[in-house]
Structure formats: C-alpha cells, structure tokens
C-alpha cells in the first residue's frame, strides 16, 4: 500500500488508535469546540429557569432564606454575633462563594451520566460537559451577589478597592469545584455510588469551611495549615476579607491554592485517561 505523506503533515488529519497510559490534554480540540461549550452553558441556564414558575426569583429567594436561617440559628441562638460582628453580612458573604461551589460540584459530578445520550452518539471533547455544568452556575452567583450587595448597602458597609479581588477569588471557586468535579464526574461513570456520596460530601464540606462561622475561630499555626488544606477555607476567608475587611488570608490561602492546583491538574489527567472508555462503560 502506498503511503501518501501529506496524510501525516496536514493539520486536518486525525488518527484514531488505542491510546495507552496517560494521554495529553489536547487543549487545541477544546478550543475548536468552544462554541459548543457556550451552547451547553446556555442550554443549562435556559432549561433551569424555563419551567419554574418563579423563574429567576428562586436565585434571590434561596440565598435570602439561607441568610435568615443562618442568622437565626448561628447568630441569635448560638450567639456568633458577639463582639461587634455583623453576623447576617458575615454569613451572606460566606454563603455567596459556598453556593456557587456547592451547586457547581453537585451539577458537575452528575454531568457526564446526565448526558449519556450525547456521549454515546457524538464526538466532542468530553471536558466540555463538566466545564459547562460549572460555568452555568454563574447566573445564580451573579444574582446572589446582588443580594449581598444590597445587604452591604443596608448595613452601610464601606466599599473598597479590595473588592476587586472578588474576581480572581470567584475564578478560584470555579476552579476548585471543577477540580473536585472532574474527579467525581469521571468516577461516577464507572461507580454510581458517587451520586450517593456527593450530597453527604457537600454537607460535611460546608461545616469544614468557614461558611457559618469566621475562620478566625480556628487558631494555632498547625491547625490553620491543616484547615487550609480545604481549598474553600482560604477562598471564603478571601471573600470576607475583600468585602468586609479585616485580616487578609495569609498562609491559609497559599495552602489552599496549592491544594486546588494539585486537585485540578490530577483531575484533568484522570479525566482524560478515563474519557476514552466513557462511551463503553456509561
């Protein structure tokens, strides 16, 4: 058989063969399919609000209800708001990134299984599915931010330049949920046990993060570093600092970021490794 050489040099040529071991991330393909990513995010958002009578109002109602409950249970019953702490604002600022994280993680971990029909019928970089499920939480997050912003105005909390840090911090929340979500979504394809673990994981994780309380309650250098192993601890602390001032998140934050990067990169490679058997095992 004559091998024509342009078969190999042409950029449009693809070769399909069994991959062994760890494969490259193939980010070029991901870029080629960026419009699909946009449409998947758009679909998730559209569908979420389409059949709900209250529609977008849910995105306001849920954080408000949470803030009220937290303020009552922790602020009034457990007296967390001693010493001049504005507990409603403290919990609102904690709940803001937490809501984004918990929602994204929940959707992300079930995203592959929920899109079985796509995975078994069409090719596209599978990474698009978990990434889209994480990004689609941004609309809710935007609305929740307005709630927090209104609270700030109500409590006459001063605006400051440090609020600009919210942007990279939000990216970090997305990255954290994607990092964990990549692992869980790929594992869920093979072991459906994951779907039972996720709600439990999210609840536990919330109490291990400074959502309902201030991170300053955790004292001692060693304990704080261990605490920082939970990436959400640093992020939420960062949100509080950017909005309410106080101590900037120091070493806690560095540990968090390292932790996220380790989870994210390992998650990406694990996902890519499992990706090629998704259509056969799902």
């Amino acid at each position: 058989m004559i091998r024509d050489n342009n078969f190999k040099t042409d950029p449009d040529v693809i070769t399909i063969r069994a991959m062994r071991g760890w494969s490259s991330l193939n980010l070029r393909d991901l870029w080629k399919y960026r419009e699909l990513l946009y449409f998947m995010v758009w679909r998730d958002i559209k569908v979420r609000y389409k059949q709900a009578v209250l529609g977008i109002a849910w995105a306001i109602l849920l954080p408000v209800v949470n803030i009220v409950i937290f303020s009552f249970v922790f602020g009034i019953l457990l007296k967390q708001n001693q010493g001049g702490v504005n507990y409603p604002l403290l919990s609102a600022v904690g709940l803001l990134p937490w809501g984004l994280f918990a929602g994204a993680l929940q959707r992300c971990s079930s995203s592959l299984v929920g899109n079985t029909n796509l995975i078994t019928k069409v090719y596209f970089p599978r990474l698009i599915i978990p990434v889209a499920s994480v990004l689609s939480g941004l609309v809710d997050f935007g609305i929740s931010s307005l709630v927090v912003f209104s609270l700030m105005i109500y409590f006459r909390a001063p605006l400051s330049w440090s609020m600009l840090w919210l942007l990279p911090l939000t990216l970090l929340v997305l990255l954290t949920s994607l990092a964990v979500g990549l692992w869980l979504s790929a594992l869920n394809v093979q072991y459906r046990d994951v779907q039972y673990i996720v709600p439990f994981l999210i609840t536990t994780w919330m109490y291990a993060s400074p959502v309902a309380y201030s991170a300053s309650l955790v004292t001692g250098r060693i304990l704080r570093i261990v605490y920082g192993l939970n990436p959400m601890a640093g992020v939420i602390q960062g949100f509080r600092w950017a909005i309410m001032g106080g101590d900037p998140p120091g070493e806690l934050f560095v540990v968090s970021i390292i932790m996220v990067l380790v989870l994210f990169i390992s998650g990406l490679f694990y996902f890519r490794r499992m990706e090629r058997t998704f259509a056969d095992t799902i």
């Binding site: 040529v13 399909i16 063969r17 389409k50 029909n117 019928k121 069409v122 394809v189 095992t281």
Partner: protein
C-alpha cells in the same frame, strides 16, 4: 483520487461484563481488588483463555475510502456496523489498529441527539447544530433553509416536548441534513419517519453525494443502499467478508445470511436477552408437500412456519411475517392473530412450545427474490423479537399465467385473474 479514510487492521474487543452489567459498584470493585491476588494465582495454574469473558465486535477490518465515494456498510444486527461507525466517529477507541481520516467528520448515529424537550424548535436547532459540529455563523446562515426543510415553521417557537413524533423527527433531520462536513458518517437514521419524508431525506443524501463529499452509509434498506452507493462492504461477525459494487454486495449479503436455505434456526447467542419470555426457535419455508425449500413455485401454495417457545404465559402475543423485495418494497404483512375471532379465542398463550403456520395461496407472487422478516409483539405493549431478514427465497413462475410469453412481467404479484372476452359487436 486520494483516500480520505484509511482503516488499518482495526479490532474492537468488549468485555462481556460490560454488555450485561453496565457499571460496577464501588463495593464490588473493592472486593474484586481484594480477591485479585487469589485470582492471579489461579490464573497461573490454569492457562487463561481470553475468549471466556470478551467478545470481538470487530476483527481486522481494513479498507480505504477515496474522496467523494459513498460507501455502503451492510451486515446483520450485531455484525459490527455500529461499532465501526462509533470508532470512525471517535466516540469509542479501537482496541487494535488505527484509522486515519483527512477532513472534518460529521456523524449522524441518531437524529436529534441532544434535543432538549423544554427548549423550543428554534433553540434546539442551534443546540443540535452545535453538537453536530456546526459553527454558529453556519447555523445562522442555514437557519431559514433548515426551517423550510422541516416544514414546521408555525411551531418553531414551541417547546419540542409539545411536538408530535413526526414533527420532532422532521426538525431533527432538517438540522442533520444541513450538516456539511467533508466526510459524513450515517447510521440507520432514515428508517424513521413517514415514507414521503424519507424520500425527501434520501434525495438530500443524494445531493450530498453530488457535491463530492465522502459518505459512509449504514442501512438495512437495501433499496437505499443500491440507490445511493456505488460500492459496499459486507460485515459478518465482526469481520469484513466482502467489498464489491453495491449490487453484488447486496446479493451476497442477502444470500449469504442463510447457509441452510429454506430454514433459519436461531442459536442461543443470537437471541437478545430482552426477548424473554419469547424465544424464537426456527422459521421454515415449506412447499405444498411439506418439504423445506428455498425456491417455491408461484403456481403452488406454500407454508411459512414459525416455531417458538414461551417461558411464561403471554397475553396478546402476535407473530408477524413481513415479505419484502430486495429493493425494500413490502409485499405484505400478516399476523397469526389477524382474524379477530381467533385473537379473542387465543387471548393468552401459556408457557410451552408453539408453531404458527401461515398458508400462502398459489398464484400470489411474481418471480424474483424475496425477504421474509418476522416479528413477535403484543400490540402497543412490547416488541419481543424481530429479525429483519429471517429467510430469503426465490419464486419460480414456470406455468404461471402468461408464461407462454418469455418476457419479464412488471409487478410484485402474479395473480391468476378471471378474464372474459366477449365480442360486443
């Protein structure tokens, strides 16, 4: 002409475990892992045979496709057609071998992939288009054309969950038909929809061919294969058994399926697990003396018998036979309980072994090659089993009306009519 697809010794192995049991649970995985050393030890003692728990869905498939060719892929259910298309579409990877493809591949293994019931027709066009690999600007450019093709302009802003299944398919196919990749991979998607729309879709597929694009086309509809493709490959049990001009390939496929002419016996491995409680045993073609034959005389009556067993009682069961030509035209459909009285009387069949016999009168069929499909179902409840090419046979019209003239006769039937000739003036 240069080749745009090169398939080189592709094989695909499935673990049977993956077929029956779709996923493991974590606890099974843990207990498997714990018992692994023990199993490894046992395996050393008894040499391992890999045929036990794996099946080869494809074995050593190699072929090239030149640019602009429409290549048909034919084979029985389970021959590996779908697996081959899935590998070509990059949905799953081959176990061995490689495929090189030059150009953008669009695959249509199903119409309406990714349609969301809550979204409107308009929204689904964008979503589905993007999923099939179209650019947003491309979808916008073809939008009006897609709507026109689908013939559902009025409902374009209605959620597709309110569509009838026909409308849904029209819209889905309209999007798919406007996909313009350099290489198009199409599975049995034309089998759906009403006849007129099917014709329109086949026309559209023909246009694609005119534009010099390469198409790989799987179908059970032999007339579509013959009409659209020049060349076809035949798959059987995961191997490629033939590549030839489509006419030849279709004939080979239709005759090769039945080594034992006049009778088809199903083996346990061929019966899908979800057929239970129905279990097909055999279908036979008998001449008027009761002998199993593969050629019948049109001037004599013949019998089609379907033998099957039921592992538990079944209500409303009907055994259907469908006769069609190699071009895919149906000649007739008949069920063993077509007679309303008999349907009432039989109602439920208890567990056991049965034979349903259909006596076909003489002077019915014209000469040619016919395909018999069989089907077992309960109306509107479930289809238990189906074989779209259970048997093939030839009809010989020696002695039929008009055989004194040695010219071919048009038509599928060769009835003996009662003519009178009167002189009126």
């Amino acid at each position: 002409m240069s080749n745009v697809i090169r398939v080189d010794q592709v094989s695909k192995r499935f673990r049977i475990g993956l077929v029956h049991q779709r996923y493991q649970t974590l606890s099974e995985k843990i207990s498997n892992t714990l018992s692994a050393p023990l199993r490894t030890f046992r395996r050393i003692q008894t040499p391992k045979t890999d045929s036990e728990d794996t099946i080869w869905a494809l074995r050593d498939i190699s072929f090239d496709v030149p640019q602009g060719q429409i290549l048909g892929i034919i084979g029985r259910n389970g021959a590996g057609k779908s697996t081959l298309l899935k590998i070509l579409s990059r949905i799953t990877e081959p176990t061995e071998g490689s495929i090189t493809i030059r150009g953008r591949v669009g695959s249509l293994l199903e119409v309406g992939t990714g349609f969301h019931p809550e979204l409107t027709g308009r929204e689904n066009i964008y979503l589905n288009g993007a999923i099939l690999g179209m650019k947003r600007t491309e979808i916008e450019r073809k939008f009006d054309e897609i709507i026109a093709f689908s013939e559902i302009e009025k409902f374009i802003d209605t959620p597709v969950k309110r569509y009838s299944s026909g409308m849904y398919l029209r819209l889905a196919f309209a999007v798919a038909a406007h996909l313009e990749p350099e290489i198009l991979v199409v599975d049995e998607v034309l089998a759906v929809g009403d006849a007129e729309f099917q014709k329109k879709c086949l026309g559209k597929m023909g246009d694609v061919a005119q534009q010099g694009r390469t198409v790989l086309f799987v179908s059970h509809n032999m007339s579509a294969i013959l009409r659209l493709t020049h060349e076809s490959i035949v798959l059987a049990n995961g191997r490629m058994v033939m590549r030839a001009p489509s006419g030849e390939a279709v004939d080979f496929y239709l005759s090769a399926g039945n080594p034992k002419a006049g009778e088809r016996v199903w083996e346990a491995a061929e019966i899908p697990a979800d057929a239970a409680p129905f279990c097909p045993i055999a279908v036979r073609l008998l001449d008027k003396k009761g002998k199993v034959v593969d050629t019948i005389r049109s001037t004599e009556q013949f019998t089609i018998e379907v033998e099957y067993s039921l592992s538990s009682p079944l209500t409303g069961l009907r055994i259907g036979i469908y006769l069609s030509t190699t071009r895919g035209e149906y000649v007739f459909t008949s069920f063993d309980t077509d007679d309303a009285g008999k349907f009432e009387e039989i109602g439920s069949r208890s567990a056991g072994r049965y034979v349903s016999r259909c006596r076909v009168p003489a002077d019915l069929l014209n000469n040619g090659y016919f395909i018999l499909s069989i089907n077992a179902s309960s109306y509107r409840i479930r289809r238990y089993f189906q074989d779209e090419q259970a048997l093939t046979f030839t009809v010989n019209t020696d002695g039929a009306p008009g055989s004194q003239w040695a010219e071919p006769r048009l038509g599928l039937v060769r009835p003996r009519f009662d003519w009178t000739i009167d002189k009126v003036e």
